[in-house]
C-alpha cells in the first residue's frame, strides 16, 4: 500500500501557487499517517458519543442514530481537505474498521467498512481528489459502513428470531415479524443511511466554510 503511485492530482490552475509547487509524494509521509490517525479517532469519538446519547431509550435512538451519521460528516469532510493523494481515504476506512473490531463490532462490519472506504476512495478519484461534490459523495458512500453491524442479524436470522422474547410470543407472531422486518427493511435502512450520509457531507461542507476555513484549519 505504501508504494502505491500517486493518482496524479491535476495541477489545478486556480490553486494557490504554493500547493501547485509542492512536490508530488509517492508514499504516505509521517504527517499523512498522523492526520489519518487523528481524524479516525475524532470520527470514532464523535460517532460514538452521539450514538451513545441514544442509549437512554430506543425512541431517542431513532434520533441519535441518523444524527451520528450526519455528524460524522464534520470530521470526515475536514479530513478530506487534508487528503493530498490516493489511498488516504482507504487507509482511513481500514483503520476505522479495525478499531470497530476491537470495540466489539462483528468482524463482518470491518469488511463492510473497508468496502465502503474503497467506494469513497473511488468517488474521490473520479473527482480527482479536488471536487467538493466528490467529497460529499465520498462521505455518503463511506457512511454505508453503518450497515455492517446489521449484517449478522441477516446472516443469522433464524437464531435471532429464536430469541426467548420471540419464542414467548408464539410462532404466528414470529412469522408475522419475519414477514414485516424483511430484506426490504434492510434496503430502506441502507437507503436512509446513504441519505443521511449525503446530508452529513453537506453539513460538513457547510461547517468547513462557516468555521474551519475561516480559522485556517482547512
Amino acid at each position: 500500500m505504501s508504494d502505491r503511485p500517486v493518482a496524479a492530482p491535476p495541477e489545478n490552475t486556480s490553486a494557490e501557487p504554493s500547493t501547485a509547487a509542492a512536490p508530488r509524494r509517492t508514499r504516505f509521509s509521517a504527517r499523512d499517517l498522523l492526520n489519518v490517525a487523528l481524524f479516525a479517532v475524532l470520527y470514532f469519538v464523535i460517532v460514538f458519543a452521539i450514538a451513545m446519547l441514544g442509549i437512554v431509550s430506543p425512541l431517542v435512538m431513532l434520533l441519535t442514530l441518523p444524527l451520528s451519521v450526519i455528524a460524522a460528516g464534520i470530521p470526515y469532510m475536514l479530513f478530506l481537505t487534508r487528503v493530498r493523494h490516493a489511498g488516504m481515504a482507504a487507509l482511513f476506512g481500514l483503520v476505522i474498521g479495525l478499531l470497530f473490531l476491537v470495540t466489539g463490532h462483528p468482524w463482518i462490519s470491518t469488511l463492510v467498512t473497508v468496502a465502503a472506504a474503497l467506494a469513497a476512495e473511488a468517488a474521490l478519484r473520479l473527482g480527482r481528489y479536488r471536487s467538493r461534490w466528490a467529497a460529499i459523495w465520498a462521505h455518503a458512500l463511506f457512511s454505508l459502513w453503518f450497515i455492517g453491524p446489521m449484517v449478522p442479524l441477516l446472516l443469522d436470522r433464524a437464531a435471532y428470531l429464536d430469541s426467548p422474547g420471540m419464542r414467548a410470543m408464539g410462532p404466528e407472531y414470529v412469522e408475522a415479524f419475519d414477514r414485516t422486518v424483511s430484506v426490504t427493511v434492510l434496503w430502506a435502512y441502507s437507503g436512509s443511511t446513504l441519505v443521511c450520509g449525503l446530508l452529513g457531507g453537506l453539513l460538513g461542507a457547510f461547517l468547513l466554510k462557516k468555521h474551519f476555513t475561516k480559522a485556517g484549519l482547512a
Binding site: 500500500m1 505504501s2 504516505f28 509521509s29 509521517a30 504527517r31 499517517l33 498522523l34 489519518v36 490517525a37 487523528l38 479516525a40 479517532v41 475524532l42 469519538v45 464523535i46 458519543a49 452521539i50 434520533l63 444524527l67 450526519i70 455528524a71 464534520i74 470530521p75 475536514l78 489511498g87 487507509l91 481500514l94 483503520v95 478499531l99 473490531l101 476491537v102 470495540t103 466489539g104 463490532h105 462483528p106 468482524w107 449478522p152 442479524l153 446472516l155 443469522d156 437464531a159 435471532y160 428470531l161 429464536d162 430469541s163 426467548p164 422474547g165 420471540m166 419464542r167 414467548a168 410470543m169 407472531y173 415479524f177 453539513l203 461547517l207 468555521h211 474551519f212 480559522a215 484549519l217
Partner: protein, 248 residues
C-alpha cells in the same frame, strides 16, 4: 476540565502494568472472540467470551471493568431471557432480540477493551511490524492508540464547557439537534488539532513514521503468560461446545 485535569484524575499513579502478554496474542484473541461470538450460532460462545473478558480484566486488576462487564451482561440476560418468560408482549420481544445481539457485542468488546487498555502505542506498533503489517497501517494504528486519550480528554473538556455555558441540556439537544452537534464537534476538532500538534511534531522529529526500520528495546515475544492464556481460551471454547448452553 483540561488535559492536565483529566490526566490528574484518570492517570494511574504508576505507569501501565504489563501483564506480560504479547500484543499479538491479544489481537488474535479479539479476532477469535469476534469470529466465534458474531458468527452464526455464536450465542453458544457468549458465556465463554464473557468469562474470558472478565478474566482478563481481573488479571490486570481492572476491577471496575470486570464489574461493569458482568453487570451489563447480567442486565441483558435479564431483559433478553428472563423478562419475556413472564411478560410476553411485542416490546419485550423486540427488546429480547436486541439483547440477543447486544450481549454478543458486549462479550466481543470486553475482550477488545483489554487490548486497548494494556497495550502501549509503541508495543502495538512493534507487534504489527512483527506480523509484517505494511508501515502505513502499523504506524496509523499505533498513533491512534496514542491520540485516543488526547481526544477523549478534549471531548470531556468540551462537554464541561458546554455545561457551564448552559449548552448541554437535553431539552436544547432535542429542539436543535444539529446546532448541538455543531457546538460539540467544532470545538472538539479545533482543540484536538491543537493538542495533537506538539505530540505529532515531537514524534516525527524522533523518526516516528519514517521509512526507517525501527528496533524495539523490548521486542514482542510469546511467553509463558501467552501459553497460559491460549490454553485457558481453548478450555473455555471446549466448554462452550460440550457443556449445556444457557443462552440458546
Amino acid at each position: 476540565m483540561s488535559a492536565p485535569a483529566l490526566a490528574e484524575v484518570a492517570a494511574p499513579a504508576t505507569a501501565v502494568r504489563s501483564p506480560g502478554l504479547d500484543p499479538r496474542t491479544k489481537a488474535l484473541l479479539v479476532i477469535a472472540a469476534s469470529a466465534a461470538v458474531m458468527g452464526p450460532g455464536g450465542l453458544r460462545f457468549v458465556p465463554a467470551a464473557l468469562a474470558l473478558a472478565v478474566g482478563l480484566a481481573l488479571w490486570e486488576r481492572a476491577w471496575a471493568r470486570a464489574a461493569s462487564l458482568t453487570a451489563a451482561a447480567a442486565a441483558m440476560w435479564a431483559v433478553g431471557w428472563l423478562l419475556p418468560e413472564w411478560w410476553a408482549n411485542p416490546v419485550t420481544a423486540v427488546a429480547s432480540l436486541a439483547c440477543a445481539y447486544l450481549i454478543r457485542f458486549t462479550a466481543a468488546a470486553g475482550v477488545g477493551m483489554h487490548l486497548i487498555a494494556t497495550t502501549t502505542p509503541t508495543a502495538l506498533g512493534f507487534a504489527l511490524r512483527a506480523w509484517n503489517t505494511p508501515r502505513p497501517v502499523a504506524v496509523t494504528l499505533a498513533v491512534m492508540l496514542r491520540f485516543f486519550p488526547v481526544v477523549a480528554a478534549e471531548a470531556a473538556a468540551v462537554l464541561d464547557a458546554m455545561r457551564l455555558r448552559g449548552l448541554a441540556g437535553v431539552g436544547g439537544f432535542l429542539r436543535h439537534p444539529l446546532l448541538s452537534v455543531e457546538r460539540f464537534t467544532v470545538p472538539l476538532i479545533a482543540a484536538s488539532l491543537r493538542a495533537s500538534e506538539d505530540l505529532s511534531a515531537a514524534a516525527v522529529l524522533r523518526g516516528f513514521g519514517s521509512p526507517r526500520t525501527p528496533t524495539a528495546l523490548h521486542p514482542p515475544r510469546f511467553g509463558p503468560a501467552d501459553a497460559v492464556l491460549v490454553l485457558g481460551t481453548a478450555a473455555l471454547a471446549a466448554a462452550a461446545l460440550l457443556l449445556p448452553q444457557p443462552l440458546t
